[in-house]
């Protein structure tokens, strides 16, 4: 990114308030509060799902009922009352949308306010968007252009209807509903999300992106994304999220599954900016997400890049299972916490194939009274000979009331593989701040500058358009964190 953009961004940053905290007053179709088999049947019926889908949900639900909420993460929150949540909220609308004219103008307006235009004419070329508000996908742009290349990019519900064979074949194969508590919950109640299929030999000509927005009150958002890249396929996929400011906590539990065949590559980038709660720690989104990619084919590659600035609680470990020989997994992360935010995030790299390689670069930035933990697992199985992992986990502390923690787990089961782990913890230096001040840059701007510099290695991995947004967010999130 040019320095100019860099600079404009920092100029633009003004007030430390959450900018996306507005609420759109639209009529909603709501599920009754609480979670029973009936809720699941209600969701499935609303979505006019086939029987096999309902069966999948019910199996997941019955399994979930046998599970306990995990407590191993370095997170503290009052118990979540899963019966006090509305599991499905859909803006009332005409059932089928064939053109933008049919989308509720209030909704279009909402996405405009978020800086996301769903009008294809107005959009910058090169990015196709799937917009998900509360439980349903509102609109997917550029579907026709993509279809010409044989790429399927649509909401998950549409995929269930139009491509059941693909959904059946891949859904739950990377993150089974038995994987963990939130994965089971998601599998039972997931509402919508995105589906993307890249056929053999196709490199997507567009960046694909999904934009998630929680709007309705007391609702949870449970979306599910599935990306499959066939042999030699390539796609860069971006995900963004926001929510209104509310005093009560909202639950978000998502699943993302990625599968890459021989020589295929998927880059998945996230800028997570759910409402983080106020300065006293009231409200905010509980973000429990299971993201995992399976490098199934030889020489295939999956990269996760994430910028996590929002949510009052983040629990998230985008992972790669490196099954194909010579496959590559990458994880680049910047996680910023301020005020009372808590993040427990990191990655898992499971090496199964020969000569597999993985990289983990994690930059944690903590301010205020927040807590920021890196948790990672590198597991090299006996068959994964000559494999390599490099992990680097850096923590930056702003102030002395915040916490940074690192929990790296390493499990190497063969002799020929090499695992390297580096970790640093630093404080933002008074020397650097004074140096900036002495040039006329105030402390708030200086922190934005220094932090963006600190995170640059990761920000550079983001697609251009996202990098701009991410830099702004870093600065905004940390405003008011000193002095």
């Amino acid at each position: 990114m040019s320095d100019q953009t860099n600079n404009n961004i920092l100029d633009e940053v003004t007030k430390g308030e959450y900018k996306f905290g507005f609420y759109t007053d639209i009529e909603n179709d709501l599920a009754p509060r609480g979670l029973t088999e009936d809720t699941i049947r209600f969701i499935s019926a609303k979505k006019e799902e086939p029987e096999w889908m309902l069966e999948f949900r019910l199996k997941a639900f019955r399994h979930w009922q046998t599970l306990e909420e995990p407590e191993w993460a370095h997170l503290h929150h009052p118990p979540i009352d899963f019966q006090d949540i509305i599991y499905f909220a859909a803006p009332k609308k005409k059932p089928q949308l064939s053109s933008l004219d049919e989308v509720d103008p209030e909704l279009l307006d909402t996405f405009d306010k978020l800086g996301i235009s769903l009008d294809e004419q107005k959009r910058l070329a090169g990015v196709a968007v799937d917009a998900v508000i509360d439980s349903v996908s509102v609109k997917t742009t550029f579907q026709d252009t993509l279809a010409k290349h044989g790429i399927i990019f649509c909401s998950f519900s549409e995929a269930v209807k139009n491509h059941p064979e693909l959904v059946k074949k891949y859904m739950g194969t990377v993150v089974p509903y038995t994987d963990n508590y939130y994965a089971a919950l998601n599998s039972a109640v997931f509402s919508d999300g995105s589906f993307c299929y890249i056929p053999k030999g196709v490199r997507s000509p567009l960046e694909l992106s999904t934009y998630f927005r929680i709007n309705a009150a007391n609702t949870g958002q449970f979306e599910r994304t599935l990306i499959v890249a066939e042999e030699g396929g390539y796609v860069s996929y971006m995900e963004g999220c926001t929510a209104p400011m509310r005093d009560e906590n909202q639950l978000h539990a998502a699943i993302v599954e990625i599968i890459t065949m021989d020589d295929a590559e998927v880059k998945y980038s996230t800028v997570q900016n759910w409402y983080p709660g106020d300065k006293q720690g009231k409200g905010g989104v509980y973000n429990f997400v299971t993201k995992r990619g399976l490098c199934k084919g030889n020489r295939s590659k999956i990269s996760w890049t994430q910028v996590e600035t929002g949510s009052s609680i983040t629990w998230k470990y985008p992972s790669c299972v490196l099954m194909g020989d010579n496959s590559i997994g990458e994880f680049y992360s910047v996680a910023v916490t301020n005020n009372f935010q808590q993040a427990d995030t990191g990655s898992k790299m499971i090496h199964l194939g020969k000569n597999t390689r993985s990289t983990i670069i994690s930059k944690g930035i903590s301010a205020g009274k927040s807590n920021n933990s890196y948790r990672g697992l590198v597991k090299i199985m006996p068959g994964a000979i000559n494999s390599r992992n490099f992990s680097q986990c850096d923590s930056l502390l702003l102030g002395d009331q915040c916490g940074a923690h690192t929990f790296p787990y390493i499990d190497t089961r063969n002799q020929s593989s090499i695992v390297e782990h580096e970790a640093t913890t630093s404080k933002i230096s008074e020397d650097q701040l004074f140096y900036c001040n002495q040039r006329g840059i105030d402390t708030e701007k200086a922190i934005g500058l220094i932090v963006n510099g600190y995170a640059k290695e990761v920000l550079n991995k983001l697609p251009m358009e996202f990098a701009v947004e991410a830099q702004k967010l870093l600065s905004i999130t940390l405003e008011g964190s000193v002095g």
């Binding site: 320095d3 008074e430 001040n437 040039r439 500058l449 995170a455």
Partner: protein, 251 residues
């Protein structure tokens, strides 16, 4: 008068370092400050520029007709006070271009001006790069990261040239410079010298003063200015050493 320091006492963590110092600088003047290690020269620079932790326990610092001792460091910088650091600081991941553009625009904002257009900024960079003979290889890197000692010092003068301060304090900018770099730095300073600005040059060596000819030379000892004179004082000092001064200050 541009700068008028009256009876200044500065303490770091309760320990008095500057002990009743007076200094007056007019526009158009160059003042040199010399003195043995640890006498408080850098502390004086920090106090003038408003570094936190340098507590003014007594006295006043008047700059452009206001007492600035309560003012934040960034505001002093925006009023035209510049410090060429004795030990310039590295800021990883922040390019020189980004850093300077942020600084220039912050200063412009303070003066009620709109941000400098990108084209104009790049032209200015080119112009000043030539002035201090600094290579694009350096300005394209992160702020001071991996710069050699001499390169860091040159980079300070480059920043000074870009910001065009009214009062520039150069803290041992000559230390660690080779003879060519010393000449370039001096050339940079001399080209910026005008009737509208002033320089306070802290140095240990008479050599720099051959290139940047001072109007006054002050000798600092134990937190005070113990002797002031013309440029000849620097020569005398070089000749006799600081021992001579000790007697002086005790007398």
């Amino acid at each position: 008068m541009l700068l008028n320091i009256k009876n200044l006492t500065v303490a770091i963590e309760g320990k008095e370092i500057i002990k009743g110092l007076n200094l007056q600088v007019n526009k158009g003047e160059v003042h040199a400050i010399m003195g043995p290690n640890g006498t408080g020269k850098s502390t004086l620079a920090a106090a003038i520029t408003g570094r936190e932790g340098y507590e003014v326990t007594e006295g006043e610092i008047w700059y452009k007709d206001q007492n600035i001792i309560e003012m934040d460091a960034d505001e002093r910088a925006n009023l035209g006070i510049f410090l060429s650091f004795q030990y310039p600081v590295e800021i990883p991941g922040v390019s020189m271009t980004n850093f300077m553009r942020t600084a220039i625009n912050a200063q412009r904002e303070y003066r009620g001006l709109p941000p400098m257009p990108a084209g104009e900024f790049l032209k200015l960079m080119e112009e000043k790069k030539k002035l201090v003979d600094i290579h694009s290889k350096l300005t394209n890197r992160s702020v001071n990261e991996g710069f050699s000692g001499g390169e860091k010092k040159k980079n300070e003068i480059f920043q000074m040239a870009l910001l065009e301060p009214t009062l520039a304090i150069l803290d041992e900018t000559d230390s660690g410079l080779d003879i060519d770099a010393l000449r370039t730095v001096a050339k940079g300073v001399n080209e910026l010298r005008s009737e509208e600005n002033a320089f306070v040059v802290i140095t240990h060596y008479q050599r720099l003063l051959e290139y940047i000819v001072p109007d006054f030379v002050h000798v600092m000892y134990d937190g005070k200015i113990v002797k002031s004179g013309s440029k000849n004082l620097a020569l005398e000092l070089e000749d006799k050493g600081y021992e001579w001064l000790k007697e002086h200050s005790l007398a």
